[in-house]
């Protein structure tokens, strides 16, 4: 019997940087510890939240004797797909009416991005995707593994803690014709910095003039501003000009369905027959990856979206979450102002969505973890969803100390 393992060459992979923050947090025994790492919503009491309307929908599903657990088709739950397309593109979208959109159920945002990227790597002539600098840490990995090569375009300006719009236009302007461009539909992760509508229009014109292919990542629709329509404006602008684009949608945050892995990939095409052929090819990507998608989360989403009363209830709960985040932003900003913390902290209230790019550097972050038991990613990103009125003062103290102490 061989004592050598066939896996001798397999080294231990490092912990995922974002998820590793929670691992470290869990090990800390301090009563003051604060987890501002992973982007999952927390209540004012610091607890995970399952939306009431989700519980209602789940109850209905589980109690329905006629429901079975038969395989979904490769593209997933049909109702879910139609409703998801309407949610992101608008119920009256001409692209939908013209049957030019193919929508397939995928495993949340990650799965939708991966399936879309694999499709492009196989069937699209340009294999470079431009991603904003910075972006969600998992983006480059998804695209690389799908077979695309990754380049960046300037996005965040540390000097203003806002958008480097000129840099963005220059870099996309220099991209080869036809290249793919990843765009965060709203609530950019990790910076919280979004283009204005006017800036979106300029981006759109540039992208169309260079025949770049937009690929939207929409993980926060409704969660950013509190309005589902407002948060989809960027995507709809691109669809309105009749051009093609891809959109990855996630229900992890806006419906709190994180662990159910519910999302959708929509590809808006020039013509119905193109959309139909594209869909057939998407199936060939999906079948050898996981055959068909999981039913539970998609059924919950479909039940809520198709019932006007539940839909309304959802929008109310969604707005409450978004409002709580806005309130945390306001409170943190005021707390820092009250402490006279040096620097301009207005970006806290200008940025949008779950995350704030504080502008703190990695030494300051390490200091805050060590001295104040604040857990966050080393790029200075904090999840506002992890804050409460009770914990804002502690965070403000920590930031104040980090900024005023010379390390």
């Amino acid at each position: 019997m061989a004592s050598d393992s066939v896996f001798a060459a397999v080294v231990r992979a490092p912990e995922d940087p974002i998820l590793g923050v929670t691992v470290a947090y869990n090990k800390d025994t301090s009563p003051n510890k604060l987890n501002l790492g992973v982007g999952a919503y927390r209540t004012e009491e610091g607890k995970p939240l399952v939306l009431n309307v989700v519980r209602r929908a789940e109850q209905i599903l589980v109690n329905d004797e006629s429901r079975v657990k038969e395989y979904l088709g490769i593209t997933g739950l049909a109702d879910f797909n139609k409703l998801s397309a309407k949610l992101i593109l608008g119920a009256d979208s001409p692209a939908i009416q013209d049957n030019r959109v193919t929508t397939v159920q995928c495993l949340s945002g990650t799965g939708s991005l991966r399936v879309g990227a694999e499709f492009l790597a196989r069937h699209y002539h340009e294999h470079t995707i431009y991603i904003p600098n910075p972006t969600w840490g998992n983006h480059p990995k998804i695209f690389n593994l799908a077979g695309l090569s990754v380049k960046t375009y300037r996005y965040y300006d540390p000097a203003t803690k806002g958008l480097d719009f000129q840099g963005l236009l220059e870099d996309l302007g220099a991209a080869p014709s036809g290249a793919i461009v990843l765009l965060h539909a709203c609530a950019h992760n990790p910076t919280g910095v979004d283009p204005t509508l006017e800036q979106w229009e300029q981006i759109r014109q540039l992208i169309r003039s260079k025949q770049l292919l937009p690929f939207f990542d929409s993980a926060y629709q409704g969660f950013a501003s509190g309005s589902l329509d407002a948060d989809a404006e960027s995507v709809r602008m691109f669809v309105a000009d009749g051009g093609e684009c891809l959109a990855a949608q996630s229900y992890a945050k806006n419906m709190g369905l994180y662990g159910e892995r519910v999302g959708a990939l929509s590809i808006v095409c020039k013509a119905a027959d193109v959309a139909s052929r594209v869909e057939s090819q998407l199936k060939l990507v999906i079948r050898p990856m996981y055959s068909n998608p999981p039913i539970h989360g998609a059924s919950i989403v479909a039940a809520i979206l198709k019932d006007s009363e539940m839909y309304r209830e959802w929008t109310v709960e969604l707005k409450a979450m978004a409002d709580r985040i806005l309130s945390m932003r306001q409170q943190l900003f005021e707390a820092l102002s009250a402490r006279g913390t040096p620097g301009d902290w207005s970006h806290i209230i200008k940025q949008i969505g779950m995350f704030t790019f504080t502008g703190l550097n990695s030494e300051q972050v390490a200091f805050m973890t060590k001295e104040y038991h604040i857990y966050m990613t080393s790029d200075g990103r904090i999840s506002m969803a992890g804050l409460s009125s009770r914990t804002v003062p502690h965070l403000a103290d920590a930031i104040h100390a980090a900024v005023t102490c010379s390390t």
Binding site: L19, P48, V278, M289
Partner: protein
């Protein structure tokens, strides 16, 4: 015509130009001609136009970038169900489906599953992300179910178990690991095997070849051919084995044959790679159906095992399964697990909770576990019952003396009837019996009431069609 369109578009207002009509799907300039014209014309005026306002609608006019994409062929297995649905004959029978049906030919949700879901709802658990490797409680009970709770591979913590998206997803994680860490290594798959196996390895860019398995002359196992082909494979190949209830043939090696297969695999330093999609569903006994895997584990071999709960817990659409890698040491298993996580993260980040919780609740609770075993015995028993009735019907109706006993010897959901493509077509066209072209029928889609009808169809197709 084309130049008119160009100039018209350049001065068009968005609402009325022929270009806009094109965008709206009205007006045709010949299919595909318009597009190629614009692509060839690099000096396309409105692509370079500076008057952004007016061209905002027209800028997008060119052919779809996906125009050249062809329609992919439909999935061979799913196409059968679609054809069945379209058939209005009342005698129709769907034997293509790889999902269990009751005697009334209805889909079946296990009672223990309903109980577990109700428990979960009562508890009001949250929906937070699982860790990348999945639900810990699920991984624990899953490995124990497969290897036996008292197996040394469990007590020595030598198994890396990662929750995957049913069998397919688990196979895919393993395939990517193989591509990364065993570059150039080949996977040998049985001839025939489940149709999606080759797709998984193709997409993961793992080379594969076949080993002989099905012998059409005996409608049984070509054991000599299998051993020869495994022996002939380059050292260190991965050998894909069906743990039990081989799909599509229903033909499994005997325990003695499994020992010999393990011998030759060890001899050649191959790595066994089990696909276990029917544990408990084949014989009715969870332990018996895991005997092949446990035989290899007992020899101290390093093994890959992809597991699915689709059939044995009826959780088809919940996509719940696992990839298990038995390693030579605890540390190795930890490293392998970390690398499997690295593969899952850019594919779907973390796996879905619902199915995992159902399994953890059923398999982890002694009372529900016992109830599950009973339901599983019932399902496996029904399949065995229809096999017997079909065999009896064939034997009594067929006067040719042909030996139909392979129906009883085969095991699991599927049977390879030995019918060829023409004969299978006859089953469908004349008798409205839907099955796959390779002659495979799903016993799960058959009930006692229809056995005689099916026997008539098979006898007719076998003897009267070539």
């Amino acid at each position: 015509m084309a130049s008119n369109v160009l100039s018209a578009a350049a001065s068009a207002s968005p609402s009325t130009s022929p270009v806009t009509d094109l965008l709206k799907g009205k007006g045709r300039l010949g299919s595909g001609n318009v597009g190629s014209l614009f692509i060839k014309d690099k000096g396309n005026p409105f692509l370079n136009s500076k008057s952004c306002g007016r061209i905002s609608m027209a800028v997008a006019v060119n052919v779809s970038r996906f125009e050249a994409i062809t329609m992919a062929p439909p999935d061979p297995i799913l196409g059968v169900s679609e054809a069945f649905k379209a058939d209005n004959d009342e005698k129709k029978l769907n034997l293509g489906v790889g999902a269990y049906r009751t005697e009334e030919l209805q889909p079946y949700v296990l009672d223990v599953v309903k109980k577990a879901e109700n428990l979960m709802l009562e508890r009001g658990e949250n929906k937070e992300y699982l860790p990348i490797e999945g639900l810990a409680a699920f991984n624990k009970v899953t490995a124990e179910l497969l290897f036996g709770a008292d197996s040394p591979v469990i007590s020595e913590q030598r198994v890396a178990t990662v929750q995957g998206l049913s069998g397919t997803g688990s196979l895919r994680l393993a395939a990517v690991l193989i591509e990364r860490y065993f570059p150039g290594a080949k996977v040998l798959i049985s001839s025939p095997t489940w149709g999606n196996h080759k797709n998984i390895f193709n997409d993961a860019r793992v080379p594969w070849s076949e080993y002989r398995y099905y012998d059409p002359k005996t409608v049984g196992l070509d054991f000599e051919g299998m051993i020869e082909d495994i022996k002939a494979a380059p050292e260190g190949s991965f050998i894909l084995l069906h743990g039990c209830a081989h799909n599509p043939t229903g033909i499994d090696p005997t325990p003695e044959q499994w020992e010999k297969i393990a011998d030759v695999i060890q001899e050649k330093n191959h790595i066994p790679f089990f696909d276990v999609a029917y544990q408990g569903f084949a014989s009715g006994s969870l332990d018996q159906d895991a005997a092949s895997v446990r035989l290899f584990a007992a020899r101290g071999m390093e093994i890959f095992v992809a597991q699915s709960y689709s059939k044995n817990l009826g959780l088809y659409s919940e996509r719940i399964g696992a990839i298990n890698v038995v390693c030579s040491s605890t540390d190795t298993a930890a490293r392998v697990k970390s690398q499997l996580k690295r593969i899952a993260r850019p594919m779907y980040s973390n796996p879905p909770i619902h199915g995992a919780r159902i399994v953890a609740n059923v398999v982890g609770d002694p009372a529900l576990f016992d109830e599950w075993k009973a339901e599983m015995e019932m399902m496996a028993g029904r399949i065995k019952g229809v096999r017997q009735k079909l065999y009896d019907s064939l034997t009594s109706k067929d006067k040719s003396g042909k030996d139909w006993s392979f129906i009883l010897k085969q095991i699991g959901m599927f049977s390879f009837t030995g019918l060829n493509k023409n004969q299978s077509d006859n089953m469908t066209n004349k008798w409205h019996v839907y099955m796959t072209k390779d002659g495979r029928i799903s016993l799960a889609g058959l009930n006692l009431a229809k056995c005689e009808y099916l026997a008539d169809a098979i006898i007719d197709s076998y003897h009267n069609v070539s």
